[in-house]
């Protein structure tokens, strides 16, 4: 019986109840839903269940295998921790949206066929957009919605094209037509935040509320990585996209002055690593990508919680402002530090475990390019996550009296930090979860020395070359600048043309559109030919004409 219950179900039900309930009842239901989801993830047997017939499709809502369970566990843990962390958040929309979002993410993970997968991806877009929206930054939310509507359209079109060709299972996607594959791949890459579609991540995530960003950091990009593992294992284009994404993440993370933007860019960079592993395509590489996703969800969620604490205390999170927090918010600072070290893959953290798995997988496969880029990215990560923030720290008093947040917000991040360290100390706890990775050596002297050497050398280089320490800016141009500051305006300026040309052109276009709309309204508006009240006689006449036409045509 239990095998038919998708872990998405309790969360989706919880989302519905969260709309209806208030206060403590809502809190209780939300936490219970997350606990139930986590329980289901751990208890479900390794097989398919929950088959539903819908519109002639055979939908499989529950299909469990080790990879699904691993991603499911990561998402369920993030959901539970995120919900507990968000208990102090009094925005009712965000709670329901977060539950919907988490439910959709789990639905994707346990989907057993392409249609279910696509449906949950659309739900994921809705949930995440609502989470961004409830952060209160409407313009950013609309931009986010536009990107995800586009990605959703690509996915739906891809799934439709695939099912038109008779492809409804994941395995069969490999044999689908080029159109279906192209659309699905594009949709997943946009969702994963792969370069050149990375701009939306750092645009939206820092604008969510202190609690909403935690969910955002966990689900969308990793769900897309999971989709790529299922649909496109060994797709060589992914190595190229992954590499570009790693470089993008490093460059942007090194130049931002905003803590949550830095975390967002680092999500993108880490997803790039996972993409390279998926593109490499060996069973071990796919498993390593899944492990890295798990570790990343855990420590990135807690870092977002810590960053959220700072946002809440200070209003903004420029990197330099971390200084005053060290003493007044010791737990937050410690969590942030552990997270940054895990991100860089310091031994005895979860990051080291998953990066060791990646390194072993890529190395054994002989994927030299990916392996060297992975190693270099560790150095780069250490620079942007640890060294540069330390150098930017400004001393001085904080603007407001500060303290660590309340226990309900502190406890989840502390527990996640403990989990990060526990995995670091006992790698087998994570590695044993997915077949084939149990034998990977992690805490061996050569690996430890190797990783420490990479990080130490990078740190030394930065210190010696600190003259070029990047001042950065709070916001950075990205691909989306092309349309947010319209391309032709930039081009017009470059060509020395007056901006007025743009203004005139825009006015012209607007006038044309307005005229078209007015014409439409003349025709269809309340006074238009189609919308106004007609005299009874002409109604009767139209009936007579229709009858006459039918008869005439019948006799011709």
């Amino acid at each position: 019986m239990i095998e038919a219950v998708s872990p998405a179900l309790p969360l989706l039900l919880g989302a519905a109840l969260a709309v209806l309930l208030r206060g403590r009842a809502r809190d209780a239901v939300s936490v219970a839903a997350a606990v139930a989801a986590l329980g289901l993830v751990l208890l479900l047997p390794d097989r398919e269940g929950g088959r539903i017939g819908w519109l002639g499709f055979r939908l499989v809502t529950v299909a469990v295998d080790p990879a699904a369970r691993l991603f499911g566990a990561a998402f369920a843990i993030a959901a539970l921790a995120g919900i507990v962390h968000a208990l102090a958040q009094r925005n009712p929309l965000e709670r329901a949206a977060a539950l919907l979002y988490a439910g959709a993410a789990l639905g994707i993970v346990f989907a057993g066929d392409l249609v279910t997968f696509t449906i949950f991806f659309e739900l994921l877009a809705v949930g995440s957009t609502l989470v961004v929206w409830s952060g209160g930054r409407r313009a950013a939310a609309l931009r986010y919605a536009a990107v995800h509507a586009f990605a959703g359209a690509l996915l739906i079109a891809g799934a439709a094209a695939a099912s038109a060709g008779g492809v409804t299972t994941f395995a069969a996607v490999a044999e689908a037509g080029p159109l279906a594959r192209g659309l699905l791949l594009a949709g997943l890459l946009v969702n994963a935040g792969a370069f050149p579609f990375s701009f939306w991540v750092a645009d939206a995530y820092p604008k969510a509320s202190w609690s909403g960003a935690v969910f955002l950091s966990a689900f969308t990009t990793k769900a897309a990585v999971y989709g790529l593992i299922r649909l496109f294992p060994g797709e060589s284009a992914l190595v190229v996209f992954g590499a570009a994404t790693v470089v993008y993440g490093a460059i942007y993370a090194l130049n931002t002055r905003d803590l949550r933007a830095l975390l967002s860019y680092s999500i993108v960079g880490q997803v790039g690593i996972m993409l390279m592993a998926v593109g490499t395509g060996s069973a071990l590489a796919l498993a390593a990508a899944a492990l890295h996703a798990f570790a990343h969800v855990v420590y990135k969620a807690m870092m977002m919680m810590a960053a959220g604490g700072l946002v809440d205390a200070q209003g903004r999170t420029p990197l330099g402002a971390i200084g005053p927090f060290r003493r007044s918010m010791p737990v937050t600072a410690l969590v942030l530090a552990i997270g940054a070290l895990a991100l860089s893959g310091l031994p005895l953290t979860a990051g080291f475990v998953s990066k060791s798995a990646l390194s072993a997988a890529l190395g054994k496969e002989g994927a030299a390019f990916a392996w060297f880029l992975l190693t270099a990215s560790s150095a780069a990560t250490f620079l942007y996550a640890v060294c540069r923030p330390l150098l930017l720290i400004e001393t001085g008093a904080a603007a407001r009296p500060l303290a660590d947040p309340s226990p309900s917000r502190l406890a989840p991040m502390v527990l996640l930090a403990a989990l990060t360290l526990a995995i670091g100390f006992v790698p087998a706890a994570l590695l044993g979860r997915i077949p084939g990775t149990g034998a990977i050596a992690v805490l061996t002297p050569d690996h430890i020395v190797f990783q420490l050497a990479v990080l130490a050398a990078a740190a030394l280089v930065l210190l010696l070359a600190r003259a070029v320490i990047l001042p950065g800016a709070a916001t950075l141009h990205d691909i989306d600048s092309l349309w947010r500051t319209p391309l032709w305006r930039v081009v017009a300026r470059w060509l020395g043309r007056p901006v007025a040309t743009y203004g005139r052109a825009r006015a012209g276009v607007v006038a044309v559109l307005r005229n078209a709309l007015a014409g439409l309204e003349r025709q269809h508006g309340p006074q238009g030919a189609l919308g106004r009240n007609w005299p009874t006689g002409s109604m009767a006449l139209s009936a007579a004409i229709l009858l006459g036409a039918t008869l005439l045509l019948a006799y011709i």
Binding site: G53, L520, G525, L530, T536, S538, A543, L546, T550, A554
Partner: protein, 492 residues
């Protein structure tokens, strides 16, 4: 007693109408209507179970044989319609009490319930009867009751609307009865099954074609097929809210059912689409409805009118499914009748609740209502999403089958047009949703409370059904598919 269920479905609301008129007081009249609503729903379910278990049921009125007397026939095609009527009657009647009491003078409430039950009697009769002339009688019963119900609207324009509908409805009924005359001439019987049998050997092909044309155009006026839809927006907009709910969910659906019945089980698809240019004409008119009426809906400033124009567009989808003439298209058309009844029922109920609280359904009045009446507005939003055809709502299911039907018929451009027309729905629903949820309430607006539970529960029930039947399509699509199989079995 169970074998009398077909006739009881007509007799119960007929008795109810008489009783409601006799008691003359609002309270007891409502009680009668409520009892009838639930009784009709129970009978419809009973019939559905009986038909699915034992095949079509035939009932002879007065014990007379079909070539002399009137036969009621329940089969896979009218079971969905009977369920639609029964369930709508039950759910809508719960909604009726407060809404009617707030919009009609006390002295007219009992009459209104009598008219409502009479209208229900007529609609059920049309769905049940297998007799061409009996269908005309029920058509007239339901129409006359409808004219009177519309005329009871608060707005003075209701009188003009009722008058226009009266004229158009009478022309339609006249066309229909003339067509039936031709058919009687050609076949010597009024029983639809017998007409279908004897049409093959009928000599007077001209009379048959003429009869078909008259019947189809006559019913098309009741359907509010595109150029003949002009009566509908005013009728829906100015009728009492409850009448709009009931008519919007049922009246045109029953007319479309009659169209299905004539095209497929009487004349046969082959004859209709080959002897007459019906297929092309119907597709053109359906598309004109989906695009023209939906575009008009975008520019409406009165929400009831907006939804009424949307109805004209949505009926276009049902007739489109009929015009496609293949199994998927028919399933889509039929299932859209059910789905549209849920969605439009929920939408009109929500608007009726706004009229109950604010006394108006002008578009401006909806600004910021999302905060004041969250549950009602959520139901309206869900219904709107259904009208667009968002996946996960019932509206998507019907469009899915229609698109499938268009593709199977070798008309991919039609599938594209169906999708494109959804964008128009997106515009008029989006306009409403934006107003409800994103605009602030005007500063000088009086405080508004959530709709009372009596109005809210039926509204939410239909909105929930819109989602439920969007996710679990086994029941609705199953009914429609069974009907389609029946039609193709019966088509010659």
């Amino acid at each position: 007693m169970r074998e009398h269920a077909p006739v009881l479905m007509v007799v119960v609301p007929l008795f109810g109408a008489v009783l409601a008129a006799l008691v003359r007081r609002p309270g007891p009249a409502f009680a009668v209507a409520l009892a009838c609503g639930f009784a009709v729903a129970a009978l419809a379910i009973d019939l559905a179970v009986a038909v699915s278990a034992g095949g079509p049921i035939s009932y002879r009125l007065g014990g007379w044989a079909p070539d002399v007397g009137i036969e009621y026939r329940v089969d896979a095609l009218n079971v969905p319609i009977l369920l639609l009527l029964g369930v709508t009657a039950a759910v809508a009647t719960v909604y009726a009490r407060r809404s009617v009491a707030s919009e009609l003078p006390v002295g007219r409430v009992a009459w209104f319930y009598a008219l409502y039950l009479l209208c229900l009697t007529g609609l059920i009769g049309i769905a049940l009867t297998n007799d061409a002339f009996n269908a005309f009688v029920f058509l007239e019963i339901s129409s006359l009751a409808t004219y009177a119900m519309i005329a009871l609207g608060r707005d003075r324009r209701a009188l003009v609307a009722a008058y226009q509908y009266l004229i158009i409805g009478t022309i339609g009924a006249t066309f229909y009865v003339i067509g039936v005359g031709f058919l009687f001439l050609a076949t010597g019987t009024l029983n639809l099954s017998l007409i279908a049998e004897r049409l093959g050997e009928a000599e007077a092909a001209r009379a048959v074609v003429t009869g078909l044309a008259f019947v189809l155009v006559g019913i098309a006026m009741k359907v509010a097929l595109f150029p003949l839809h002009l009566w509908l927006p005013n009728a829906y907009a100015y009728a009492p809210s409850f009448a709009t709910v009931f008519l919007g969910a049922t009246a045109t659906k029953v007319a479309v059912y009659l169209l299905f019945r004539y095209v497929f089980s009487v004349f046969g698809a082959a004859f209709v689409f080959e002897a007459l240019p019906t297929g092309a004409l119907l597709i053109a008119l359906s598309l004109a409805a989906a695009f023209g009426a939906s575009t008009v809906a975008i520019f409406q400033s009165d929400v009831k009118r907006l939804l009424a124009y949307s109805s004209v567009g949505q009926i276009g989808y049902a007739t489109l499914g009929l015009a496609l003439g293949n199994a998927a298209g028919l399933t889509g058309g039929l299932v859209h009748l059910l789905n549209h009844a849920m969605m439009k029922g929920a939408a009109f109920m929500a608007v009726g609740a706004v009229v109950f609280r604010l006394g108006t359904c002008r578009l401006e009045a909806f600004a910021g209502l999302g905060r004041a009446m969250p549950a009602t507005m959520a139901a309206l939003t869900v219904a709107g999403l259904g009208l667009i055809g968002v996946p996960g709502t019932a509206g998507f299911v019907s469009k899915w089958y229609l698109i499938k039907g268009a593709l199977e018929a070798g008309m991919p451009w039609l599938a594209l047009l169906i999708v494109a027309s959804s964008i128009l729905a997106l515009l008029y629903v989006g306009r409403l949703v934006e107003l409800i949820w994103l605009r602030p309430r005007p500063a000088d607006a009086a405080p508004v409370a959530e709709a009372p539970l009596e109005l809210l529960l039926p509204t939410l029930a239909l909105a929930a059904a819109t989602i439920w039947f969007g996710l679990d399509t086994r029941f609705t699509a199953g009914l429609a598919q069974a009907a389609t199989v029946g039609l193709f079995g019966g088509a010659r």
